[in-house]
């Protein structure tokens, strides 16, 4: 099952490599990984999506918690949560394609953020399925380049992950 694990990490050199190293040492999957400092500059927030049985996920969270630099973590998929990923896509856009792409972008509530005579660059945010859905809708043949940030997530409601 796919899980989103959100980690508060000491913002120190080497901390990220310890997290990444743990996944490869123990043969766990990383599907996406995002990391950036938080409003508290001593902390980074790291979001990792992974798959595994409940037993594997339990081990992943326990092993992460053992890392000295991991301050706190939560498995967002255990409760209601919001997940978002940002995607930038360069699409071939000539002739009648231009209007069609514009319509599709509007339907997916994306934005065209850069334009040339033959290329649109589209920005789209949403959960991973929505981004996949967009690529499917425009068709892979027109896609020139895709860059995705990986998943970020936050719990719904009043639950917060903080110190």
């Amino acid at each position: 099952m796919r899980r989103i694990i959100s980690v508060l990490l000491e913002n120190e050199p080497g901390a990220l490599s310890r997290v990444v190293g743990l996944f490869s040492q123990r043969n766990y999957n990383i599907e996406t990984l995002t990391v950036a400092p938080t409003e508290d500059e001593t902390l980074s927030r790291l979001t990792v999506t992974t798959t595994g049985s409940d037993k594997v996920i339990e081990q992943i969270t326990k092993q992460l918690n053992k890392l000295i630099e991991v301050v706190k973590l939560v498995d967002l998929t255990e409760g209601a949560h919001i997940e978002r990923e940002l995607m930038l896509v360069k699409l071939k856009a000539t002739g009648s394609q231009r209007a069609e792409i514009k319509r599709t972008v509007d339907i997916f509530r994306g934005q065209i953020v850069d334009v040339t005579s033959s290329v649109y660059t589209v920005q789209l945010a949403g959960d991973s399925e929505k981004l996949d859905g967009f690529i499917q809708a425009v068709g892979t043949s027109g896609v020139l380049e895709v860059v995705r940030t990986g998943v970020s997530g936050i719990a719904r409601g009043e639950k917060v992950l903080s110190l």
Binding site: G14, S17, G21, K55, K62, I68
Partner: protein
Amino acid sequence: MELLSGADMLIRSLQDEGIEYIYGYPGGAALHIYDALFRQDKVKHILVRHEQAAVHMADGYARATGKPGTVLVTSGPGATNTITGIATAFMDSIPMVVLCGQVASTLIGEDAFQETDMIGVSRPVVKHNLSVRHPEEIPEVIRKAYYIAATGRPGPVVVDIPKDMTTPNERYEYSYPKKVKLRSYNPAVRGHAGQIKKAVDMLMAAKRPVIYAGGGVILGKASSQLTELTRTLGFPITNTLMGIGCYPATDKQHLGWLGMHGTYEANMAMHHSDLILCVGARFDDRVTNATEKFCPGARIIHIDIDPASISKTIDADVPIVGPVDAVLKEMLSLVKESRDKPDAEALASWWKQIEEWRAFHGMRYETSPDVIKPQEVVEMLWKLTNGDAFVTTDVGQHQMFAAQYYKFDKPNRWINSGGLGTMGFGLPAAMGIKLTHPEDEVLCFTGEGSIQMNIQELSTCKQYDLPVKIINLNNQALGMVKQWQDMNYESRHSQSYMESLPDFIKLAEAYGHVGVRIDRKEDLEPKLKEVLAMKDKLVFVDIYVDRFEHVYPMQVARGSMKDMWLSKTERV
């Protein structure tokens, strides 16, 4: 406040931490530190002949005393040579701080002479590692390193020290922090009261209980609590290879150790139990055999300081995270207060069954009129040392024979590389123990394969006068490899045969020690007595033992705990 250079601060920090000995080897990046070491006499440095041995020495010291060991090496090869030793300590949760020189911070990343990314290289095999980024940080980094190494589930901590952090002419204010505060590291100090209560109720209701104790009991200094609880409950107890000595081996409630080469009665009792109380052990694959066939009727209570050890391979019904001594103490007082008592009738019939298994006697070997059996060497030394020696081993058949036939009644006396299985561990570990226990007998059981992996340390033994006794069970082969080849590869002895062995007697003598060869059975006892009488001499005892002996019992691969070979021909 006093002004000190980084190097002086480092050594002063070690003094303030109460470190008596460090084991190491100098080199370019560590020279400022070695100079600071030279200008004081509180911290004593032991110069080894290979950095791996320094780590094993620190490890032996830590296992025997319960205090963290300390290693000091230079950058590059000095640091990478410590890796096997660090991994050994990591697998067995041994507290240790390894101080590594590093090239100057201005050179890092430039492939400078003797530069290795030690933080990166050591990452998978340390509890934590730290690098010094400013000389002023040194006291705090050192305090943190020892704190992390010794608390919670212990383990090795590497500290990487770039050379410019220890420059002699740059001085800073020194003060050693009294406390460390790490917001992200808070090991449990007691177990969950509700879980402990639940566990006690289960203990009282059990019909066929077994206590399964591990190295965590020794690391957690909980042998006396475990012994008292076991005696109060009247339950059978077994322990892992790492747990040897946590409960007196000669006591009647003790079933011997369990697992791949454990006793018949311990493995049978585990398999047929209805309740397992696991204390500071981790259901390692050398214990459980095939996990899907593991103890089908047993419910499991698992006490461990490390939550990640719980339900990692075998699911626990009642997990209890906490220090074993505190949890056992609480359990014991609940057991004593409880109006319920263990089910005496069920327990009596359980013991009757266990005694039948014990009478069947899986732990046996055939003696021969003329060939020396490795097992009898161990048994004889157990008797001759009154079961009171510190015993280190290397890895292989001799290690299993030593564990099976030397009966340990005290913790911290059985010292082996259980998790990583490191050949070359035994001699340096014995040296680390002898240094701090000069009056005690220290035996190193080894084989002609393992001993050659750190034989250069005979030179260190001469320099520091470390009269350990090396008991080389010489079967002229890599015995355990050969055993597996006999059992699984139709006796194709691929590379398990050691031709051109050195003359160990001359070798010992070349290093300034005594060598004794024993190859006749009738010489065994008198010569071993002579060896033990040479209190102030390192004696290398080269004993020619049966070349064809196998270690039994041996669990059948991919079977359950009860599936064992008891000899070359008997399978149960």
